[in-house]
């Protein structure tokens, strides 16, 4: 049986049969999955909010307040980043949560995010970093190894945190690490980026690239604590963009162009399975060849079936821990060649100071 939260995400009307214990479980699963604000949006859109009993309704209203504060702060932070980078002559390309929110996409409603992610050309990184430092953002990883890890091997600068406001920014120059076997060309992503209507200095990736970035972020990463939230992002992006003519037809080709056929394959496999996303059969057929062999797919189905559930005790079985660990190892494997990975894990386990590992 599917966890209650997922049944409600598929069919919000499910809440009509809930008793007090059911509401308790639903809100806890939503909270654990970082989907409580989305649950509020979902129930409100379905006209079901007034039927929610008083106690869970109060929690949903608390969530509304917290989510509104988050949206205000995020908007403010994006403006500050815009001001800091003004004069560099770069469009401010927002990624993930900040992009969804600022572009007013469905996927941005009720979607909380802790960091603001931006994409800049690699050649311009020093200028961008200097401009951010001039405006109060400082690097968070002071350990020499961590600095090297990010600067030589990763696709982003070490996260920078604003000295006064405490908000973080991740400056990316690519969407996968330098050390990963596939390297989608960032120049192609930037070339297809589009301005946000009404926000002349802000831009997002193109719709297809937003989907592909979301997919690669979810399916090539090692940490799945927000796996279901990321899958919901994909579901909402696909559902909204899928209504535009030409989107579906172009998606598989774009994925191949960027060497991202595999993550798209997984996105189009697990979104319909878990969330009931409607994907045209022709598109499924077009990505079928991007999947792994049957034995590996059998295994991945079992791993993702666990890791994509809410990270809550009520959704765990005996194999959940092992599944998440296996995907953690896989995520690192996909980021680095084996020797480098061994060296990295050795360093993290034995050489990094304890306080550093907690911060990392």
């Amino acid at each position: 049986m599917m966890p209650l939260l997922i049944r409600v995400l598929r069919d919000p009307g499910t809440v009509q049969g809930l008793d007090d214990a059911g509401w308790d479980l639903l809100l806890r699963q939503a909270d654990a999955a970082n989907l409580d604000a989305y649950l509020l949006v979902l129930l409100e859109d379905a006209g079901l909010l007034d039927a929610v009993p008083a106690a869970p309704r109060a929690h949903l209203e608390w969530t509304r307040v917290g989510a509104a504060a988050h949206a205000r702060a995020a908007r403010y932070e994006v403006r500050q980043i815009g001001r800091a980078l003004d004069g560099l002559g770069l469009p401010l390309i927002l990624l993930k949560g900040a992009a969804y929110a600022m572009a007013g996409l469905d996927a941005g409603r009720g979607r909380l995010f802790s960091d603001i992610d931006i994409l800049v050309p690699k050649a311009r990184l020093p200028e961008v970093e200097a401009a951010l430092m001039m405006h109060g953002w400082i690097t968070t990883h002071h350990d020499a190894y961590d600095q090297r890890y990010y600067r030589e091997w990763m696709h982003e600068l070490p996260p920078m945190q604003h000295a006064r406001r405490g908000n973080s920014i991740d400056v990316h120059h690519a969407i996968l690490p330098e050390t990963a076997p596939v390297r989608p060309d960032p120049a192609r992503l930037c070339a297809s980026a589009r301005p946000i209507p009404g926000e002349p200095h802000l831009a997002t990736l193109s719709p297809a690239d937003m989907v592909l970035h979301s997919a690669v972020h979810l399916f090539f990463d090692g940490e799945f604590d927000k796996g279901l939230r990321d899958l919901v992002d994909l579901h909402r992006l696909l559902t909204q963009f899928g209504q535009a003519p030409g989107f579906w037809e172009a998606l598989p080709a774009r994925a191949r162009e960027l060497e991202l056929g595999r993550p798209l394959f997984y996105a189009l496999r697990y979104c319909p399975r878990l969330l009931g996303t409607v994907v045209p059969p022709a598109v499924q057929a077009a990505v079928a060849s991007e999947g792994p062999n049957a034995a590996l797919l059998w295994l991945m189905d079992r791993l993702f079936a666990r890791a994509l559930l809410p990270l809550h005790a009520s959704c765990a079985d005996a194999a959940s821990g092992a599944a998440r660990f296996a995907l953690y190892v896989r995520g690192n494997w996909l980021r680095m060649p084996p020797l480098l990975l061994a060296r990295h894990l050795f360093h993290k386990a034995f050489l990094s100071g304890k306080s550093d590992t907690q911060a990392a």
Binding site: A21, R28, P56, W62, G66, A68, A69
Partner: protein
Amino acid sequence: MLTVGSLSRAELAARLSGDGLVLRTGPFINRIRSDVAPLIDSVALMYADYPVEPVGGFVDFHLELRRSGGLRRWYKSQVHFAYDGTTPFQPLPLAQAYPMLEWTMNWCVSHRAHGYLIVHAAVLEKHGRAIILPAPPGSGKSTLTAALLGHGWRLLSDEMTLVRLDDGVVVPLPRPVSLKNTSIDIIRAFRPDAVLSRPVEETTKGTIAHLKAPGASIARALEPARPACIVFPRWEAGAAIALEPLPKARAFMQVADNCFNYQVLGARGFTALGGLIDASDAYTFRYSSLPEAMALFERLVLGDA
């Protein structure tokens, strides 16, 4: 009504280590699970008069405090807090389990319950008028609160004043009063009848003991009160008693500084705080003698200070 005090020690321990003790505090339902024996004793003592709800209903906050496993179980044992499976805080020494429960129960409210403007302030009521005491630690707020409670005042809260956004009333959250360092002996001497938890030394706030909330305040926990005064107290050795009116604009800014969620509430926080300031007379208050301070509060609550 089932209360913690009506459960046997064995039954209480079984609930805490099993499906949980479902405890009502003011408007909130807490489900507490723990296997830490001294914590069970403190809960039995401090929460004896609180209602216990059946397991299996809707719960506001799911809290768990567990003793370390492995080697740590035997050497320098610690207590770990989990909020429904997530661990937002570092563990503390096992002896601090009960203060940790109080702190984490506060944290649940201040980080989530955004249906209220939550002021870091004690609040007491008499004759239907609530007096709010916002103050940083060390101002003598809890000492004054503890002294007044022995004299017919109703405890609404020692730590968090909940101003309901919908109608501006103060919603009670009567819980044990946290006393620090020298306050503990002052209250022991001043109120020999006071029930105190065992003092815990070397916490980040020094030595801590909790004073049991009056049964009458707990019994009236669902009865809100109208705000009447906001008093910023300051204890100062040897100082003459002095109550000075505080201009409304400054009172507004000072209460805003003492709120947990003023920023989070945005425009609604501004409106709620404005309503609170409009409804209340505001003062700064300096004192050195508890009996003098208490006499002044009696006059204040009657509106003739």
